[in-house]
């Protein structure tokens, strides 16, 4: 029986994408929390190119990049809870939105790392991305649905970070980005995602996330202020 290990950090949304996929598929794994300020030999050996988490190690073989890991998990454990549509066109559309998430969601993390002008820019960029998603991606979901139909799939996991994590980022940054009046389809989906079976039992707690990002933000702003003095 090949063993499965996950190298991650709490509460990285990229780690959580993999955790949620493993949980949805009912795969047993050993989670090994990493210290990114003092990278372990295992991490450096498993992801020599980027030295980042998450890394999945399956039967000794490492795989990195969260969405590549999810495709690997789906292909290696195809019997339970498929994470992509069966038809090639559905898969191509799913992959398109996964790539979009990989490329466009990083501006959101700048919201809690910055203040003033820079933060304003990050907010505007995030709103532009949200407008595209609301029209082209979430617009295609049926009212009760997920990207996977009645069940959560890989695309839902790619965007899942935007639920509880965005919520925590908004609270600790004092900025409201996702206006439910402007983004009703997204907000409906996010609520359903947070309540979905398995997902709801495996998300980080809201209070813990807010506390974490508050502390991170204080540290980053202090460091930025010290650097500019």
């Amino acid at each position: 029986m090949a063993d499965v290990k996950l190298l991650g950090t709490w509460p990285s949304p990229f780690s959580y994408r993999v955790i949620l996929a493993l949980k949805l598929k009912g795969i047993d794994y050993e989670y090994i929390e990493q210290d990114l300020s003092n990278k372990s030999p295992l991490l450096l050996q498993s992801n020599p190119v980027y030295k980042k988490i998450p890394v999945l190690i399956h039967g000794g073989n490492p795989i990195s990049e969260s969405m590549t890991i999810l495709q690997y998990i789906d292909e290696s454990w195809p019997e339970t809870h498929p994470l992509l549509p069966a038809d090639p066109y559905g898969r191509a559309v799913a992959r398109f939105w996964i790539k979009f998430a990989e490329e466009k969601l990083s501006s959101a993390s700048m919201i809690f790392r910055t203040s003033g002008e820079e933060q304003g820019k990050a907010v505007r960029e995030t709103v532009e991305v949200m407008e595209i998603l609301e029209e082209h991606a979430f617009g295609s979901l049926k009212e009760k649905g997920f990207f996977g139909g009645e069940k959560v799939n890989m695309v839902d996991l790619a965007y899942g970070v935007m639920g509880r994590w965005f919520d925590a980022i908004e609270e600790c940054s004092g900025v409201k980005v996702i206006d439910p009046l402007k983004f009703p389809l997204f907000c409906g989906w996010a609520e359903r995602f947070n309540e979905a079976p398995v997902i709801r039992d495996n998300l980080p707690g809201r209070k813990e996330l807010v506390d974490f990002y508050k502390r991170r933000r204080e540290m980053m702003l202090a460091a930025a202020a010290a650097a500019s003095n």
Partner: protein
Amino acid sequence: MAANNDDVKLIGAWPSPYVMRPRIALNLKSVEYEFLQEQFGSKSELLLKSNPVHKKIPVLLHNGKPICESSIIVEYIDEVWSSGPSILPADAHDRALARFWAAYLDEKWFPNVRAAPRAATEEAKSAAVSQLKEGLALLEGAYGEISRGKDFFGGERIGFLDIAFGSMLGWLRAVQVMLGGVKLLDEEKTPGLVKWADKFSADPAVKDVLPETEKLLEFAKILMAKAKPAAS
């Protein structure tokens, strides 16, 4: 499933390495298609309608349905025309490796190929060249590991990663010239890749798709001229 009377169109342009990828994939599968070339400097109605989110080429239109993003199009072609030679590797870990390196090429390595000749200072140029060489060293290692002694990343035949990387060879060669003959692919430092590049370029599915270095250099001149502000 694909049938003989499928309507297959590809919106693209001959100089784009991203467009070359689906063209090579369609050739591997012996699929006939109509190549709709965009006019340089403008975007057709069809492109804007087919890829409203990014407005970029390539876009594959299969019986009218649009598929966007070059690597996604290649995976789609592999899955639809499943009776042709396989493009993605069979093993899940090999597939993950192929996708990992294709993403590395797109996100980390190729941007330096484009940036190097346009670098404003000698210093910046030098830095871009160093990055390119470091990347090629990594890729030489990956080639050794993944090809397992065969000619290609995909083994005996060209596959997903060969296509992802090989589509960039035209511009890599052109940029070597533009940088005054700098050797990026090097018989001493990257011997595996040098051999691989020749074999890839000679493959029947690739030969008529990968542009001649001369043609790309001419095209680059036009691009650079358009990028310069008009002299007063």
